[in-house]
Each structure stands twice: as C-alpha cells, then as structure tokens.
Symmetry: C2
Subunit: 193 residues, 2 copies
Amino acid sequence: MPVAKGSTIDPGRTRAAILDAATPVLYERGLDGIGVAELCTRLGVSKETLYRHFGTKDGLVRAVLEARSDRVTRALADAVAAAGPDPADQLTAVFDAFQRTFDEPEFRGCALLNAAAQHHVEPVRALTARHMDRYLDTLVGIAERAGAVDPALLGRQLLMLVEGATVVATHHGPTGAGDHALRAARTLLAAAS
Amino acid sequence: MPVAKGSTIDPGRTRAAILDAATPVLYERGLDGIGVAELCTRLGVSKETLYRHFGTKDGLVRAVLEARSDRVTRALADAVAAAGPDPADQLTAVFDAFQRTFDEPEFRGCALLNAAAQHHVEPVRALTARHMDRYLDTLVGIAERAGAVDPALLGRQLLMLVEGATVVATHHGPTGAGDHALRAARTLLAAAS
DNA sequence: AGTGGATCGAACCGATCGGTACCATCTAAG
DNA sequence: CTTAGATGGTACCGATCGGTTCGATCCACT
C-alpha cells in the first residue's frame, strides 16, 4: 500500500519524523549495527523516501548527530541558565543534568563520542569536536563567572570531568558518577579563584 | 607459495606474530573498518592460518583487546612503581604516561573505549569494564597511600580525570591535556587528605 | 475533476563481508 | 629419508549491505 491511508503528505514533517524516529534506533544499535532496510522498517518509511530526504545513510547519520548535538547542548545551556547566578549552583545543574541521562535505562554513553569511535572519518569526528567545543563554551562561562584565574584552564578541566563522568558512567556504572564528578568540580572551582 | 621459504613453522610464534601485527591495524582502521581478507594481506598470513588460530574474527578481536589491556595496564603500574613513594609523584607519572600516548601521531583514543563503542556487545564491553577496573585499582592505590579520607571516591574521581583527559585529547587536541588533568588531580589529592 | 508530487512495497543490483575447502609446498621431527 | 603438520594462495559460498528502480496508490492543490 503506497502512502498510508490517513497520512498527511508533507515532506518537511516526514523528514522530521524520520529524524526523530531514527535517533534512538541508531543510538541503541550503533551506526553500523543496523542496515538501511531494517531501519526503514522500524521507522515505518520506505527506502525511497529515506533516500529522497537524506541522499545517503551517512547523510541521515549526520543529520541525526547534528540534531542530537543541538538538542543536548541547548538543554545543558538552559539548565545552567535556570540555575541562577551562582557558579557553584550552575555546576550542580550541569552534573545533575548529566546524572539524569546516566540513569536512563537506554543510556549507552555519549552518542557523539560513540559515533566518532564507530565512523572514525572526518565528517563525523568534526561533529564530535564541535559538540565538545559547545560544552567547553558553557563550562568556560561558568569558570569566568566564578572569577577563576585561568578560566580557559578550569573550563577544560571541567570538560574532562564531564566527559570522564560520562565514560565512567557508561562502563563502570552510573551510580553516583554525576555526584562524584560534581564534588571534584566544586573543589577545582574553589581552588581556582 | 605455501609457507614462506625461510620462515619458521611454530604455531605459538605465528599466533603471537598475528596478534602483534593485527593490534595497530585494528586500532587504526576500527574493528569493522577492515575485512578479514585485507587484514590477512596486511598481516602476511592466509585466512586459513588466522582462522585456525583464532576461530573467528571476533576471537582475534578479543585476543587483541585482552593483550592490549594487559600491556597498557602493566605499563601504567610499572610507571607508578618507578615513581617512588610520594603519591603526588605517582600521579605525575600516571598523567605523563598518558600524555606520551596522546602525543603519538597514531593516537586515536583509548582502544578499549573505541572497541566498546564499535562492537557494543557484551563480550567486548566486559573487557572494557575490566580495563577500567584495572585503572581504578591503580588510582585507588595512590589515593590510599595519600591518606585520603575516602580513597574509593578519590580513586573514582581520578579515573574520571584520566578518562576525561583521554577523551579531550582525542577530540579536542592532545596539547596540555595530561598536564591540565594532572593539575586537577593534584588539587583533588591535596583537598582529600 | 484532474494533475503532480509524495509515498509504499518489492524486486533488483553489484560489492563486500565472514567463513570454508582444497591443494601445493615448506619446515620440523623421527 | 620420510612423514606429519603448518602454511600460503586461491577459489568459492551464502548472506548482507547500501543504493536504485518501478509501478501502484494516495494526498494536496487548482
């Protein structure tokens, strides 16, 4: 049956729906862990539609990763903004937000880091690098507001704690990872100003 | 031509040679980034020999990862042991050792983390988890010798710095990563005793 | 009413994959 | 010298992969 009986034909919506549906599947199975055929079955679209919208499997992958990076980065910035003016509170907001993702049953590590390890080709690695730059911007901002002597250094150290907590939560268990990293971050913050 | 003209026929040596030669190739290309046929060409062995020794591509992968984890873990423990009794010096030895690997031109991140992200199936993930436990043992040891109030906590925080430094060095550039992480680690060490 | 575009389902394509089989040839040991 | 086992090279197998094509069908717009 071509075209679902009650479905609305709207290319924009179709594209967005594919993106939303493909994101968790590619995250769970890995970029190469699922073929285009099975992926289309799961998404409820035909291969022709997928290829018309994204051209290539890699095109879909890039779109998914970009959207994910945008969403996560925005969520983190929002959490920081909602935490008030105190840099210590902002740090708490950051690591609380990460702990919430660590505790999700589907958590499998940072999607961007996983993607870079899987397709270690330039286009994907560039997205991961940009993702990390965005994190770094947020963290350096906190360091600056805290009056750190070397905000760039403290920001990078905080980035290491964020990424380290993610890795440890992925491979050594999520319990307490956010809190342990937060306590370390507070110590660094207190010592840097 | 079967059997190289001057080669020694010694199954043990052949197996070890395959392991040694396959390790950098699988690291550089990714576990799924190279097929068995090309891999065998690079290693200079026939597919039959490879399959006789390792049974499966996954068997080879597991053997490579185990050997790599053993080697890296031992090198880290040796570096710590050679640093003398001062926990601060031992920390320096740890992060200096990591910085040296970050600076290698072939550096592509932690091989075990990459593997877990690529083949995210249980056998490989278990190896990565064990690898991380080994790191943790070494770091908790340093925390204990430093007289930390909660050595398990400090050890886990140091693990986050180690893994975070690795991730940042991989995706944001190796320059100074080890040193920045070391300074953070020293701060934590000083504050924890 | 009718036209054009979006979609589905399925068949199909060439390439590549992991893995197996076979045989000629060489080494190692008796 | 002989024999058993290890190896290289090559061809081969079935499965799967990303991607293309085609026709039938349905929606959206005029």
